[in-house]
Symmetry: C2
Subunit: 324 residues, 2 copies
């Protein structure tokens, strides 16, 4: 049977939530990946290293496989410089742009001192790059802010998270210290999948999936193993009822590696898969991961309609690949 | 109390459905309007004058107020020339573009003979103008088709239905025989209302609400009483369960005139309201309507959460105006 072996695959952008939902979703990622950057947009947000460590302990308690969760620090005006110095990743959310961004930055200039400290101590700045403008322009409108940050702090590694448009993809060549993560759903879908036929609320997320041209720019990066880009799922589970009230987020964790195998194979890019989901992240983030080989086999499997009260991406569909 | 008197307001684009749903929704329109062009996308579609007359009789049976329903004929390859000659309005749906468009036209050229007959006998061609392209470009991509139709049949009155973008609004000045209807929701909302914050599936419709610039172009027409444009609600009720499965359509009938009064007042355009909802349609369609004066008064009312199993637009909101 055809198979693909992945050494320590890494999810560079993951939401694991907390409480019962954490217990449901964390084992799913821990089975498929050797580690992840875990996002800090809990309620309340993770603003201290102590809170990050406590959350990391809860994540580890929820899983039963070797898995390294790297919890990012949520950048708010309450964050202390001492904690920034001890952080590996600091996450910047502009105010109000997505789930849990009510604690986000109203004025990025407020953090100049912190950015200076970060570039001195080698912490990575992870950014949800969307403006407060019209929904389809929000990412492109954020491009000048990325450029200014990259220029002002040339030794600061800045990761443009879950990029969904060509305008941001194009920045990677312009600024050496700009990096990016790309999700599975932005590689797969466009606005037409979300609302071109019937409305598919399960594909609603921020940033919104965009045009075929935007998707092509992202695919070009992923399928060419572009070294400044790593896979970050942005898997973001919401209970069914919250999703029905319109919450943004796609629960992709249960289908990530099999779907990536299918997609890369369909585009004759299987050779680039290891760079995209393993090697690039290890170089960009310089992480130490537990040794873990994940084997994908070409055996079809059907995605369940619901997992612990959450509807997964591709529910009811059959994927051509499985985790062995 | 401030009031606005409207003489025989007309809804130039209305979906009344059939069966129980017809009985729920028809009285709502009949209370507020003196008549409407009723769309023929039933199952099966209204393809003959006999079917149109039978449907018209069912509509009249469902209402208890003077109201003139003008049922459009659904243009399919089964439609007979004799019926076209007796029709006032013929509706062209490109194949598959919206609810009930599975019977629509795969090749508009198939209808050249019918279009020729229509312009000779004075029937009006009503068109859902969207291409099969990417969802946000579908209306703009249809512009050349409108132009070609208008040029090929210069005596055919062509109504561009529920226009939602500036590209189509701009055609009105270019071609004398192109007209348009505009909905309330395209005057009120943009993509940001649909999916800029939480996903609001109750604002999902075809054509999709678009950018602020598109909306501004439509407002410019409505607020200036532009004579080639009339109000057509495209009120399109779906039972709650169908809406939850992603059906396209907004049930706006219960809130139309009060919301229009509020909107036109907010933009100092109250003087244009009569042209937009009464006079223009009577000139464009040359309809005979039962005399009916509808009085709007500036008295707030709250929109119910559900009417006969259908969620109305603006449910739970308070509108500043009411029908007396």
């Amino acid at each position: 049977m055809q198979e693909i072996k992945l050494d320590s695959p890494f999810d560079s952008h993951l939401h694991l939530r907390d409480g019962d939902l954490l217990k449901t979703v964390a084992p799913i990622s821990a089975r498929a990946f050797a580690g992840a950057i875990v996002m800090p947009n809990l309620t309340p947000p993770i603003e201290t290293i102590d809170a990050a460590n406590a959350y990391k302990a809860r994540v580890i308690q929820a899983i039963d496989a070797p898995f390294e969760p790297i919890v990012a620090l949520y950048l708010t005006r309450r964050v202390k410089l001492d904690d920034v110095k001890r952080a590996k990743i600091v996450k910047l959310y502009p105010f109000g742009v997505t789930t849990g961004a009510e604690s986000g930055a109203k004025n990025i200039g407020d953090f100049d001192e912190i950015f200076g400290v970060m570039q001195d101590c080698g912490a990575i700045l992870s950014v949800h790059g969307e403006s407060g403008g019209e929904v389809l322009q929000r990412e492109a409108e954020f491009a000048p802010i990325y450029e200014k940050l990259a220029k002002t702090y040339p030794r600061l590694k800045i990761v443009m998270e879950h990029i969904g448009c060509a305008a941001l993809a194009n920045l990677l060549e312009k600024r050496e210290n700009l990096y990016a993560t790309i999700t599975l759903h932005h590689l797969l879908y466009t606005l037409d999948d979300l609302l071109g036929g019937a409305l598919n609320s399960h594909l609603f997320c921020k940033p919104i999936v965009k045009t075929a041209a935007d998707r092509a720019a992202l695919r070009q990066l992923a399928f060419s193993a572009y070294p400044k880009v790593s896979f970050g799922s942005d898997s973001a589970p919401h209970p069914k009822a919250a999703k029905e009230r319109g919450a943004a987020g796609i629960f992709s964790a249960p289908v990530l590696l099999p779907t990536l195998a299918e997609l890369f194979e369909a585009h004759s890019a299987t050779d680039a898969l290891r760079a995209f989901v393993c090697d690039n992240a290890q170089k960009i983030y310089d992480v130490k991961l537990p040794p873990k080989t994940v084997t994908l086999i070409k055996k079809p499997a059907t995605v369940p309609n619901e997992i612990g009260g959450v509807v997964p991406m591709r529910f009811g569909e059959t994927i051509g690949w499985s985790i062995a």
